[in-house]
Amino acid sequence: MGLREYISDISEAVVTIAKGMRITWKYGVDPKEETTIFYPEERMVMPERTRGFLFNDVARCIVCNMCVKQCPIDCITLESIKGADKKNVLTSYKIDMGRCMHCGLCVEICPPKSLVHTDGYEGSSHTREELIVEFVEDDLATIKARIAAHAAELAKAAKAAEAAGKAPAAPANPAGGEKK
């Protein structure tokens, strides 16, 4: 290959390398170019649509099983027993956070909008069992006791409505969850 091509090879190499180094020099010298978030000391404010860990407000949940059917991988398992006014009452509502893929389908389908995404994302644990989140705090006994009390109260309200038989019997107002 001719001398001219030989020289142009060398010069092209030197010129293109110098151009590249000038750009890394620009980023290297200028301290303002840093884009690092110092995570533990700094935290990014999450947008309101962030799909972090799920949270179910058990009081408003109407146990309609829509979320259980909608989840493609059955992360949500719930048990409920018959409440006093023939509505179900939740006894245990578990979401396996180790399996959930944060797709948001269950949150969209939940009629009372009790299942929502929080913006929490830190949750490293040492065992798999810790990742199964249980939302119903109190155990079975207290729930049964509350339902019994609620049933007794309903019966009393029904008797009172009967006693005031002449007045049109006020239908027992829907109990709704008055657990809290």
Binding site: E34, I37, E42, G98, T118, Y121, H126, E130, L131
Partner: protein, 199 residues
């Protein structure tokens, strides 16, 4: 080479503003769940760690070289975690290409049955003080492929002897990775290397 977070200008490419945060992690759903589970399981007891242990653990904690291993979506989050915005290098965690020089295996991405035997071999090739972080739903319980997939290993602890930290999320944010690494670092600080009575 500016050091602290406070002394910097707001970063042009950040859409959401960045606020200084308290040291400990805010109470989110999973943290409350951890307290509940740990409360009824009883504390871990006190592990007294000697001075020599402290120094060695401090050295091991601050230079956790992780293996450049990524199979699926969490692999992209691994790259984004190691890149400019959430920098793993700040914690001394550099990626190494060979299992021989890696201390930490972050199983990022789905492990299929065809890949399972390779992961076991990689784990065996790593020199001894080695740690495993199971990242993302696929490696904790098989994640999205738990119910209907025939070729996914349902959780990396089926194939690896010991998993130290589980980081849930699909894929977990790089901040959750960093929180997982710091969780592992606290674990390392509590390990006892000397004075162990040979069982």
């Amino acid at each position: 080479m500016s050091q602290g977070p406070a002394k910097r200008k707001p970063i042009k490419s950040n859409i959401f503003d960045v606020v200084p945060a308290p040291a400990e992690i805010p109470q989110n759903v999973l943290q409350k769940n951890f307290e509940r589970v740990r409360a009824c399981k009883g504390g871990e007891g006190i592990i007294e760690v000697g001075i020599a242990d402290l120094f060695i653990n401090w050295c091991r904690k601050n230079s956790l070289w992780y293996l450049y291993y990524a199979t699926a979506c969490c692999g992209i989050e691994l790259m984004q975690g190691g890149a400019s915005k959430y920098d793993f290098d700040r914690f001394g965690a550099v990626f190494r290409a060979t299992p021989r020089q890696a201390d930490m295996l972050m199983t990022a991405g789905t492990i299929t049955h065809k890949m399972a035997e390779r992961v076991q071999r990689i784990y065996a090739q790593m020199p001894e003080p080695k740690y495993v972080i199971a990242i993302g739903a696929c490696t904790i319980t098989g994640g999205p492929f738990y119910k209907d997939s025939y070729s996914v290993v349902k959780g990396v602890d089926l194939i690896l002897p010991k998993v130290d930290v589980y980081v849930p999320g699909c894929p977990p944010r790089p901040e959750a990775w960093i929180e997982g690494i710091r969780n592992l670092q606290n674990l390392i600080m509590k390990t006892k290397n000397y004075g162990l009575k040979k069982a």
